[in-house]
């Protein structure tokens, strides 16, 4: 390794360190960690809560950990993305610290990707702690867990899913240079894709569109109609569980339905089968879609950051 390359790596790591210190000292990030562990604890305590209500003993569940999606799920990933990177670019502009930072002999590309890498590392470490917590808690409460060797897939999926949201928050932050717009804009997109999109998709029979946008995606079922079958979400938020399901059940086919309002019996709806696809297609599509969004949004954010003029 020549001196120049060593120098560049050193500068990159300095930016990473600078950003990680910022991340872990943010009150909102510490708050999010508390919320995440509270959600995970709630998820772990779910069996006991049901047991207390019904009076039945706690059901053992050997798949509790691998089904838990790091104990967070889609909205958890979204919230982590927001608290981790909503200030990453826009916060530097808002506070004016960007002036001193960019006056150093570090290229904007190094600053941008150093910050992104720091966000990735922060998430990875946080999710690792969450998964270990879920694995220990799950084993204690729901009995011995099977397929724990697949937990890393859950971790990879969770980081991947969060990175998609991170790229959206970064793009909004780089465009508007406002943390508030980055957070609220991303929240609007989350609501649009996950809630309104899902309802419209389900009712209009055009749920396949959700496969190609970030979020929970389309909803399909394996082994039967929605009431009895296993639910599979196709979106970027479900990469982890889908990867695990694919390893365990490579031959699964996912069937999609549409709800027809006003079925044969007045006041009841009916399910109309639309199409079917293998789980391998679902998982490969969600990975490709995630990569496309991530690369495109990060590239645009990087371009905007490189061009940004520091007038204030």
């Amino acid at each position: 390794m020549d001196i120049t390359r060593f120098d560049r790596v050193g500068k990159f790591l300095a930016v990473v360190r600078y950003e990680i210190l910022w991340n872990v000292r943010k009150k909102k990030f510490l708050g999010m960690i508390i919320v995440a562990f509270a959600l995970a604890t709630l998820s772990l305590a779910g069996g006991h809560i049901v047991s207390a209500i019904t009076g039945d003993p706690v059901k053992l569940d050997p798949n509790f950990v691998i089904d838990s999606n790091v104990g967070l799920g889609g909205f958890g990933f979204f919230l982590f993305a927001i608290v981790t990177v909503m200030n990453t670019i826009s916060g530097e502009f808002e506070s004016g610290t960007i002036v001193s930072l960019l006056a150093k002999p570090v290229s904007r590309t190094t600053v941008f990707f150093g910050k992104l890498f720091a966000a990735f590392l922060t998430l990875l470490v946080t999710y690792c702690f969450l998964i270990v917590y879920m694995a220990i808690g799950g084993s204690v409460i729901y009995g011995p867990q099977s397929n724990l060797h697949l937990v890393p897939l859950s971790l990879i999926g969770a980081v991947f899913s969060t990175l998609v949201w991170i790229s959206i928050v970064l793009l909004l932050g780089s465009t508007f240079k406002s943390s508030l717009i980055a957070a609220l804009g991303a929240l609007g997109i989350w609501f649009g894709t996950n809630i309104i999109g899902s309802i419209l998709g389900m009712l209009a029979g055009q749920g396949w569109i959700l496969t190609y946008i970030p979020g929970s995606g389309n909803t399909g079922y394996v082994d039967g109609l929605p009431q009895v079958g296993i639910l599979v979400s196709t979106g970027t938020d479900s990469i982890g569980p889908n990867l695990i399901n694919y390893i365990l059940h490579p031959s699964w086919n996912v069937t999609y339905y549409k709800i027809n309002i006003g079925g044969p019996t007045p006041g009841q709806g009916s399910w109309e089968q639309l199409y079917q696809e293998p789980l391998s297609t679902v998982i490969s599509t969600s990975i490709v879609v995630s990569l496309i969004y991530f690369i495109a949004f990060v590239a645009i954010s990087w371009y905007l950051f490189r061009r940004a003029q520091i007038a204030e």
Partner: protein, 314 residues
């Protein structure tokens, strides 16, 4: 290398507003060069173009002999920059900030361990280095801003209003520090609105107004170039018409105005004519209580120039 900073036709526009207009600036190596101008003159915009934070719309910049390009960070490795009222990351401790910035300058661990405590001591932050910057006062943040500008042992230091937010003792310390840096051969480019500060520490000055460099050179050169502005103010006991007439008769005197016991004497020359005036007053029976030159200070030059600029544009 004769010049540490050279700009040619440097221009920056914000929409229809021309913030910096064809600025030619030459800062000689080893000098303390003051950059003066009223608020909104284009000082900070110029400095930001020199650092690479703003992209010029026209013209060129050379820093330490190298032509500046967009996002070419290596040129900044020998430049220290302290922004106006520096905003530093509040989540870091003073010592952490300097250590991280040191890493960004490519300094080794040994260099950082030596330089960081030295600088914190130099700027008077010893004992507070492990506090978060968010807990620092404005003056302390200003001092830390100065320390980070000197971290890389720069050849050129650009200071944007370095005394802003400092108490009088801090201001004197900063001036002494600037002089000390200059004695080590470092070029200092100093933007300030404090005329007496510039006058006290700078060897050269550029005055800018509305994005245009109006004059540049040593303070003496500039004063000489701006003829007709030198005057003498004298307080006289036993002031009579005879005294006034006697002064008026002097060949160097252009006009004499009386204000109570004071005479304001406009001169035709920029030579110091105080002894001739004193003699003329004494010869007519007046007693000189105090006598001083006006129009020699940087403040006079500055105000004079801005007045002329206003008249020229009117």
């Amino acid at each position: 290398m004769e010049f540490a900073i050279e700009t040619a036709n440097l221009t920056k526009k914000y929409g229809s507003l021309v913030a910096v207009n064809n600025l030619d600036l030459s800062v000689k190596t080893g000098t303390i060069h003051g950059f003066l101008g009223p608020n909104g003159a284009g000082k900070t915009t110029t400095i930001k173009m020199l650092i690479g934070l703003l992209k010029p719309d026209g013209g060129s910049v050379k820093i330490l002999g190298n032509r500046l390009g967009w996002d070419k960070p290596d040129l900044r490795s020998k430049v220290g920059y302290m922004p106006e009222l520096p905003k530093l990351p509040k989540h870091l401790k003073g010592t952490e900030l300097l250590d991280l910035y040191g890493r960004m300058y490519g300094m080794s661990k040994d260099e950082r361990e030596k330089q960081v405590p030295t600088l914190l001591d130099l700027v008077g932050l010893k004992g507070r280095e492990t506090d978060l910057i968010g807990k620092y006062s404005k003056g302390m943040q200003q001092r830390l801003g100065l320390a980070q500008a000197l971290l890389n042992e720069p050849k050129l230091v650009i200071l944007d209003e370095p005394s802003l937010g400092l108490d009088p003792i801090g201001m004197v310390e900063v001036r002494d520090m600037i002089k000390e840096l200059s004695s080590e051969g470092i070029t200092i480019f100093l933007s300030s609105h404090l005329l007496h500060e510039v006058e006290q520490v700078c060897t050269h000055v550029t005055i800018i107004n509305k994005g245009v460099a109006m004059v540049s050179g040593t303070i003496k050169q500039i004063a000489t170039r701006l003829k007709g502005s030198l005057a003498i103010e004298v307080e006289v006991d036993k002031l009579s018409e005879t005294v006034i007439e006697n002064v008026r008769k002097l060949p160097v005197v252009k006009d004499v105005n009386r204000d109570g016991k004071k005479l304001l004497i406009d001169l035709k020359t920029r030579d110091d004519a105080r002894s001739e005036v004193s003699q003329a007053i004494a010869a007519a029976g007046g007693i000189v209580i105090s006598i001083s030159l006006r129009g020699e200070s940087l403040e006079d030059i500055f105000l004079n120039l801005l007045d002329k600029d206003k008249e020229g544009r009117a």
